[in-house]
């Protein structure tokens, strides 16, 4: 449908029709409505998105709006915790501690101006310390991979050796790794946490207090009402310590993962550039297993970042999305959407969708046609099937990669059944057929097979939605393209649908097309409302009889009446041919309330035309008058106009 909603269309879109509900008050209203009315089913599918409302502030800002805690009293306590934690941590993991806290003197004297202590950590490591640290991490990683650890020559092999194995290079490689780590300023922390990590100032204690509240909430009823506020100081202290420790753990883990990830990227880059391994002399190859691990690693990084930035699991805003965490996409620089300030009707895109779109823009710009792009189109289509751009792009990829059209159609069937109101799907199918047809055009049996499988699917989807405009439009296209006008199965299929619901006008329309657009019976350029001398009389007779038999089932059904009239005109017949039939449905016209009986206003309408055709103007006029006065009053103005047509001698037909 034109300007579609459903897309919206009624694209519809069909029809995600609920307005944004910004306030709880409005939510309540719409809820009321929902109980009274049926909510669109499409809404349900997207219900999980509704949590991300524009009015919902990120939790990090709630922290600042918390009532300020008694900073002065908690300050010394927190310091103690920090110190204690640091001490313990440093003892257990010196390198990580160094990395995170920075050199000892900093820690003691507090953060240096202009230099965040946590960020300074890497740069302040001694070179051998870095190597050692990295190597332990890598060793741990290699230890998880039996195949590789077997290649590590001796038990006491140097950490550098391990690193070399892991990174596929020598000392130079390690240096390079570290250069990347440093220059890329590995996000060792989320910005919001700097203060907490570095010093025990206001925000820190505030944050801790918030955790406290959360953890006591998490404990549930057993903690008792108001427990969050009234925990005994000792238990509060232990909670805070535990929370802080958990945090250090996460931070360290994140740092390690990031470094490993850099290694992987470097390796991948080497592979792309065709660099050979110093040791083996063979070209660097990234194994499947390594890719899988890297994916897992990135997901973990993303999860850690989300946790640390205090955001809900549903948002990948500051973490790494599904695509960014896939090494497959490392070489693509996503084109991120930056809406202008104050943009109208801007949608708070779910993070996954926003990420996918930014990658789509990038690969479309590069006009890349590849498997991964094909995957991306599917990924986006499953989120937003009315995205016409991605559909066209998908078609281009399918054709460029010479993918199997049959496979694509099979895939498309599933998507179509899940998105009944979508119409981009049908244009995609159209493009597929256009592309596929030349390969079968010379083989009638291949056409017949294809036609049968298409018909089977069309029947299935029309059973779900009997009047779907775009399905029917596609069906007429298909008949035309494959030349199915004489296919008895097609006509039989339509007759079944009319038998199921004699009021299905879409089926009637298709029948008219099937019968009268048949290339053997249609003169090109003759309009649908004009007679065509090429139509064989027996076809006209057959169709007249068919329409009449269906009219008898339900005389007030306009579909077969329109059809009957259309057939007569197309066949160049006089409408008077069906005078006797039509009069069956109109009795005692103008003979008073008692006598007059109209079983079909459409019969009376046609009768008026028949009378006009025969020059029986008064009867025609009476018919129209009675329609306007009694039988079809909503169309009074139209019937009056028709009466004036009689006066002008215009046939109104």
């Amino acid at each position: 449908m034109p300007p579609k909603k459903k897309g919206g269309g009624k694209g519809k879109a069909s029809q995600a029709s609920k307005p944004p509900t910004a306030t709880t008050e409005e939510k309540a209203t719409s809820k009321d409505n929902a109980t009274a009315d049926k909510p669109p089913t499409k809404e349900k599918a997207k219900a999980n998105d509704s949590a991300i409302g524009p009015a919902l502030p990120p939790s990090s800002t709630t922290a600042t709006t918390d009532p300020p805690p008694a900073t002065s009293t908690t300050l010394p306590e927190t310091q103690t915790i920090l110190e204690r934690t640091r001490a313990r941590f440093t003892a257990a993991r010196p390198y990580e501690a160094h990395l995170i806290f920075g050199p000892q003197q900093q820690q003691q004297s507090g953060p240096l101006p202009g230099k965040e202590p946590g960020l300074g950590g890497l740069g302040d490591l001694q070179p051998q310390e870095r190597s050692a640290w990295l190597a332990t991490r890598i060793a741990a990683r290699i230890a998880r991979r039996p195949a590789l650890s077997a290649t590590a020559t001796t038990v006491g092999s140097a950490t550098a050796e391990l690193a070399r194995v892991a990174c596929g290079g020598g000392a130079k490689t390690i240096k390079e790794v570290w250069r990347i780590v440093n220059e890329g300023s590995v996000p060792l922390r989320a910005a919001g946490e700097k203060q907490f990590l570095g010093s025990a100032t206001g925000p820190v204690s505030r944050r801790i207090v918030r955790w406290e509240g959360l953890s006591s909430q998490a404990k549930g009823p057993s903690a008792g009402a108001g427990a969050g506020k009234q925990v005994p100081s000792s238990s509060r202290e232990s909670q805070t310590i535990a929370a802080a420790e958990a945090r250090w753990e996460r931070r360290v883990r994140l740092t390690c993962l990031s470094a490993e990830s850099r290694c992987f990227r470097a390796q991948r880059d080497r592979e792309r550039r065709g660099v050979c391994d110093d040791r083996t002399g063979e070209r660097v190859v990234v194994t499947e297993q390594e890719v899988v691990e890297e994916k897992r690693r990135r997901l973990e990084i993303a999860a850690l970042r989300r946790e640390m930035s205090g955001q809900g699991a549903g948002s990948a805003a500051r973490g790494v999305g599904k695509i960014a965490s896939d090494p497959e996409w490392d070489d693509v620089v996503p084109v991120v959407l930056e809406e202008p300030e104050g943009a109208l009707a801007s949608i708070a895109y779910p993070a996954d969708y926003a990420e996918a779109m930014s990658y789509l823009r990038a690969v479309m710009k590069a006009n890349e046609h590849s498997e991964r792009c094909l995957w991306l189109t599917e990924y986006i289509i499953k989120m937003n099937a009315s995205h016409y751009t991605v559909w066209l792009y998908r078609a281009a990829i399918i054709f460029a990669l010479k993918k199997s059209i049959a496979d694509e159609i099979e895939w498309l069937n599933k998507i179509a059944l899940a998105n009944l109101k979508n119409y981009q799907i049908w244009h995609h199918r159209h493009l597929l057929v256009e592309n596929h047809f030349p390969s079968i055009s010379s083989d009638p049996s291949a056409i017949a097979t294809f036609a049968a499988s298409e018909r089977q699917f069309l029947e299935r989807i029309l059973a779900e939605d009997t009047k779907n405009y775009h399905v029917w439009s596609y069906r007429s296209y298909l008949v035309n393209k494959l030349g199915l006008f004489s296919d008895p199965d097609e006509l039989a299929s339509i007759e079944r649908m009319i038998d199921d619901d004699v009021r299905n006008n879409s089926a009637w329309s298709h029948r008219f097309f099937l019968v009268f657009s048949h290339p053997d019976r249609a003169t090109p350029g003759v309009a649908a409302t004009e007679p065509d001398p090429k139509v064989p009389p027996e076809i006209v007779d057959r169709e007249v009889a068919y329409a009449q038999s269906k009219i008898r089932l339900a005389p007030q059904n306009q579909s077969p009446w329109n059809y009957l009239r259309g057939v007569l005109v197309k066949g160049g017949r006089k409408l008077s041919e069906v005078e006797g039939f039509t009069e069956e449905f109109v009795k005692g016209l103008g003979k008073g309330e008692e006598e007059e009986d109209v079983k079909s206003t459409h019969a009376l309408d046609l009768l008026a035309e028949i009378y006009a055709e025969q020059g029986r103007k008064e009867e025609a006029d009476l018919s129209l008058q009675r329609l306007g006065q009694k039988w079809d009053r909503i169309r009074f103005g139209y019937w009056e106009w028709r009466r004036r047509c009689l006066g002008m001698g215009a046939a109104a037909a």
Binding site: S17, P19, E25, S50, A343, T389, D501, V502, N504, T529
Partner: protein
């Protein structure tokens, strides 16, 4: 004791379907009715008995006085209920579904007896007796139910509908149409359900409506519609990401609706300009979202939105040269337009293109990159559009989206809009379409009692067709009033303005605090429907007049050299765009004005669907720009 009784309850095997005034009435056939009762049924509407199986019809024939050949009963006749033969009729079977309906009928001169109240409920309602005596509408409380056969449900007594005496509502809008078939199919079920949902609103009985006037018409809820529309222009929640491919639509829908409600939308200018700027593609046109391909529908919406806010800043943001080249690439040899490069071709594309071309005053010449380009210059952007439109008229008289499809209301508007842009409607519409068939089809879209328009034959009313179909009538009127072959469209109007206004104000509005307009009761309001329902309201409340066509326009341009046909096309389109559409509030003879004065919305241009002043300002601006 003589009287009229209503029998109701879900348990009855269905016997026949009786179409009553204002309700679906099913005559129950039940063994609980004593044989000696000789109950008689007054049928005030045609009756059709369905699905008599051969054997049971035979057994019942002695008791049922129904003309056998047609199975039709007559209004006002008395029919005897069949006696004890519970297997008389099967339930209706349609496809896989079984339909059970709550049975209800009127039984006259029956003796009231105590019966099993679980199964039969006899209740005397004197008001029904009166209503049966007169022609006043009665109403049965019949609703489609699922086939669960929950025995405990007994239909509660509802007296027949007696119109609220304080409101003047014609019975046309309070009862089922008098001609109805008894055959139940999914289509008729959906139709009945829609009527059931609409009737309380139409009858002035819905408790959701806060105020009805003395005509039983609700007032326009401006105070909720305005915030509703502003909300849709603001930040939208992520679940609406499906609209990512059509964001400019929101600009148009909301700004147009606000304008219709009399709001000043120039305050949105700066934000709109910045927003569309980043949706515009360097190769011309506007995409549905950032990085989306340019699409004719979204470009149409963006251009109209810019015209609505007006101002040089808004006009200058459009890259007209790129737009022109892009349109050329979309132009197809058959006269139509693809909606985007590689996209489908339909009549909506043609209409959007025609609007864009004439509003932006783009040159019509094609460049060689156009698929429709011809070296001799005989083809331009508007060539063949009318023929394409013609190929979309169907045997029903309506217009389909593409040739060979089903007639559809929205495409009818696009078709007429196209033709009215190409030339004066009196010439273009009359030349390319079968006007009487078209009018017949358009008029058939209006239903009673709903009063609203449907989009296709045998489909349901929907508020948005108030525009798509209702908006066709000003163009049809302009066609008829400038033509000497067909009678003019004077009083009464070709469609029932009262019906449409009743539907819009009672059924088409959300009456809760949410605001907005909707498809029909039971549906959620949205920006799309708010815009087009208000557009339709405007069409119903106003009357447009277009001067008859000048007689000699066609020959003037041809002398300037170049190709005659192409030059003619350009001259005609230019004349059509400059033609003055005069508007008056509709003050017809249909009856008193049923809506309150304050509920009259602003007129909008019948072709461009924005106020006439916006069309003029935009065209005037580009008229002063040299080249691009």
């Amino acid at each position: 004791m003589p009287g009229i009784f209503r029998v109701s309850g879900p348990r009855f095997p269905l016997c026949a379907s009786l179409i009553g005034a204002g309700g679906l009435v099913v005559i129950p056939h039940t063994p609980q009715i004593p044989p000696e009762l000789k109950s008689r049924i007054i049928i005030r509407q045609p009756l059709q008995v369905l699905s008599f199986s051969e054997s049971s019809a035979g057994s019942a024939a002695s008791d049922i006085e129904i003309p056998a050949e047609t199975c039709m009963g007559l209004p006002g006749r008395t029919y005897v209920l069949p006696r004890d033969s519970s297997e008389c009729l099967p339930r209706f079977e349609v496809g896989q579904r079984r339909h059970a309906r709550i049975a209800a009928c009127y039984v006259q001169n029956a003796t009231a007896r105590a019966h099993d109240r679980d199964t039969v409920q006899w209740q005397q309602t004197p008001s029904e007796l009166r209503s049966l005596g007169s022609c006043a509408p009665g109403r049965a409380n019949a609703r489609a139910t699922s086939d669960n056969d929950s025995d405990s449900v007994v239909d509660e007594e509802i007296p027949p509908h007696s119109p609220n005496p304080t409101m003047r509502i014609p019975d046309l809008f309070t009862q089922y149409p008098i001609v109805r078939d008894a055959l139940v199919t999914p289509t008729s079920q959906a139709q009945d359900e829609t009527v059931e949902a609409c009737l309380p609103f139409l009858r002035g009985e819905s408790d959701k409506v806060t105020t009805y006037n003395e005509h039983g018409v609700a007032s326009l809820n401006r105070e909720t519609h305005l915030p509703f529309l502003r909300q849709w222009l603001g930040r939208l929640p992520g679940r609406l990401m499906g609209f990512d491919a059509g964001r400019p639509w929101f600009f148009y829908w909301c700004l147009a609706a606000l304008t219709l409600l009399g709001e000043d939308v120039t305050q949105y200018r700066a934000d709109l300009v910045e927003t569309v700027r980043f949706l515009q593609n360097p190769e011309g046109g506007f995409g549905g979202g950032f990085g989306h391909l340019s699409h004719l529908a979204t470009t149409y919406a963006a251009v109209l939105a810019l015209a609505l806010v007006g101002g040089e800043e808004a006009y200058d943001v459009i890259d007209r040269k790129a737009m022109w080249r892009w349109l050329g690439r979309l132009k197809q040899p058959d006269g139509g337009f693809q909606v985007c490069l590689g996209g489908e071709e339909d009549i909506r594309g043609a209409y959007c293109a025609a609007v864009i071309i004439t509003l932006l005053r783009l040159p019509l010449e094609l460049t060689p990159e156009s698929p429709a380009y011809k070296e001799d210059g005989s083809v331009n952007l508007l060539t063949g559009v009318a023929d394409y439109v013609r190929s979309c008229q169907t045997y029903e008289g309506g217009i389909s989206g593409q040739p060979n499809a089903e007639a559809h209301g929205a495409y009818a508007f696009c078709a007429l809009g196209c033709l009215a842009i190409l030339d004066h409607p009196a010439r273009s519409i009359a030349k390319y379409l079968d006007v009487p068939r078209l009018i017949s089809w358009l008029s058939s879209r209006q239903y009673a009692p709903e009063g609203g328009f449907s989009g296709r034959t045998n489909k349901l009313v929907d508020g948005c067709y108030s525009h798509w179909v209702g908006g066709c009538f000003p163009l049809i009127e302009a066609c008829l009033n400038g033509s000497d072959k067909l009678p003019a469209a004077d009083e009464p109007s070709l469609f029932s303005r009262e019906g449409l206004i009743r539907y819009i104000l009672t059924c088409g509005q959300d009456h809760s605090r949410m605001g907005g307009m909707r498809d029909k009761p039971g549906k959620f309001p949205d920006a799309y429907h708010t815009c087009y329902v208000l557009n339709g309201l405007s069409a119903a409340q106003h009357q447009w007049e277009l001067d008859p066509p000048a007689t000699t326009t066609t020959t003037t341009a041809a002398e300037e050299g170049g190709n005659d046909m192409a030059a003619d096309t350009a001259a005609l389109a230019e004349a059509a765009a400059e033609a003055v559409w005069a508007v008056l509030p509709y003050l017809g003879e249909e009856g008193p004005q049923i809506f309150d004065h304050k509920d009259r919305v602003r007129p909008i241009h019948p072709v461009y669907t924005i106020p006439t002043r916006c069309v003029k300002a935009m065209r005037d601006y580009y008229g002063t720009v040299e080249g691009f």
